[in-house]
């Protein structure tokens, strides 16, 4: 990987690409569809701590949600979801894993959010595991779901009835 220091193309997380789309105005958010429930954002380690996309994600979330509450600690100091580094696939160790991430649960509960936005598949799996184990009432949402639900769809793209 380190051998490819200079590449002829950019590599990005969809979040970063959505940010570009939103900033350049190619994708518009429908203000009527904005999400009203309190949301919070899980910062995935590999994208925040190792790619620095924190502000871009916050921009997307602020654009699409009305009530955004930060977790504390946030950005590159956020706690890990306990799935990304290979723990995601360990089904036998599920309760051990979930017990090992009580602080994440407390962190999410402290925000009082109803929806946690997880911009990463592994974080989604990890949070699903701890929600299943600790039984706390939050919903998970991906960034793409968020955008599909709130984006403004031009008239000519709407399907014909019937």
């Amino acid at each position: 990987m380190l051998g490819y220091k200079e590449l002829p193309f950019e590599i990005m997380h969809p979040g970063e690409f959505y940010y570009e789309l939103l900033v350049s105005g190619r994708l518009k958010i429908d203000p009527a569809k904005k999400i009203k429930e309190p949301v919070t954002l899980q910062d995935p380690c590999n994208i925040i701590r190792r790619a620095g996309a924190a502000e871009k994600f916050r921009y997307i979330v602020r654009q699409t949600c009305e009530n955004f509450i930060e977790m504390y600690p946030n950005r590159e100091h956020n706690f890990c979801c306990n799935a990304g580094g290979g723990l995601a696939v360990l089904a036998q160790w599920l309760s051990h894993k979930a017990r090992g991430n009580r602080v994440k649960v407390e962190q999410i509960m402290a925000t009082g959010a109803k929806i946690v936005i997880t911009p990463c598949h592994n974080c989604n799996t990890g949070l699903k595991d701890i929600i299943g184990y600790w039984k706390f009432p939050v919903k998970l949402m991906f960034l793409d779901e968020l955008l599909v639900n709130t984006m403004h769809i031009p008239e000519e793209l709407l399907p014909e009835e019937g």
Binding site: K5, R49, A51, G52, A53, P73, H77
Partner: protein
């Protein structure tokens, strides 16, 4: 007691031993740094990725108290560690009595600390040592990862400063015995730097630089 007070020991410690200690300290340190950089050259991914600007930023954030998140999370530890480490470096260099020795030997001298500041700072270093030893004994997290070597080099620092302080006020032992002990421990400390984990004194700058460069390449910060 007679041996500790003897002039023979004093002149040995003041004469050849000082030279030995400084030579071992300086050349040992150079050797350690040189071998590390040489090894880093062999690993192709280390040196090309070093980012000096990020490294300097990172040094500043970790060398200023409360400038990084971990320092803020542990305020007591931060206060003790900064008083201890600054004292450990600056008190020996700027102490009036040490300056007199430099002047005696080579005719050089520089600005010195006022006596009261030096005394208070020395006491802080001693308290810092005791704090670190206490941490290693009573904090279960630290105790789990501590081995004897960790105690030894805290004790070396503690004895050096304690004997120096006591010698200055001529308490407990006769002045000459205390002074001899003080010089002995000081020289042991100098010799120990390249061989024990006291090397963190200069390895700090390398490991920090590497982490800072990595963090910079990930567009994030490491404090």
């Amino acid at each position: 007691m007679g041996f500790l007070e003897s002039v023979a020991l004093y002149s040995f410690l003041r004469g050849p031993m000082v030279w030995l200690a400084f030579i071992i300290f300086i050349f040992g340190s150079i050797y350690r740094i040189y071998t590390l950089i040489n090894l880093a050259k062999k690993e192709k991914v280390v040196l090309p990725f070093i980012n000096i600007k990020a490294a300097i930023k990172s040094y500043l954030h970790w060398l200023i108290p409360f400038a990084s998140r971990n320092w803020r999370l542990k305020p007591y530890f931060t206060i003790f560690t900064f008083l201890f480490h600054t004292g450990l470096i600056f008190v020996p260099i700027f102490l009036y009595a040490h300056n007199a020795l430099w002047y005696e030997s080579w005719g050089i001298s520089w600005w010195t600390l006022p006596e009261i500041v030096a005394d208070v700072w020395t006491i802080f270093v001693i308290i810092g040592c005791i704090f670190f030893i206490g941490r290693r004994i009573f904090d279960p997290t630290v105790r789990f990862v501590t081995n004897y070597a960790d105690f030894i080099f805290v004790f070396i620092c503690l004895f050096t400063f304690l004997t120096g302080f006591l010698a200055h006020y001529q308490w407990v032992l006769p002045y000459k015995a205390m002074l001899n002990l003080h010089i002995l421990f000081g020289e042991i400390m100098l010799i120990a730097i390249p061989f024990t984990r006291l090397t963190h004194m200069y390895y700090f700058f390398f490991t920090r630089a590497w982490m800072a460069s990595q963090a910079a390449s990930w567009k994030t910060k490491d404090w």
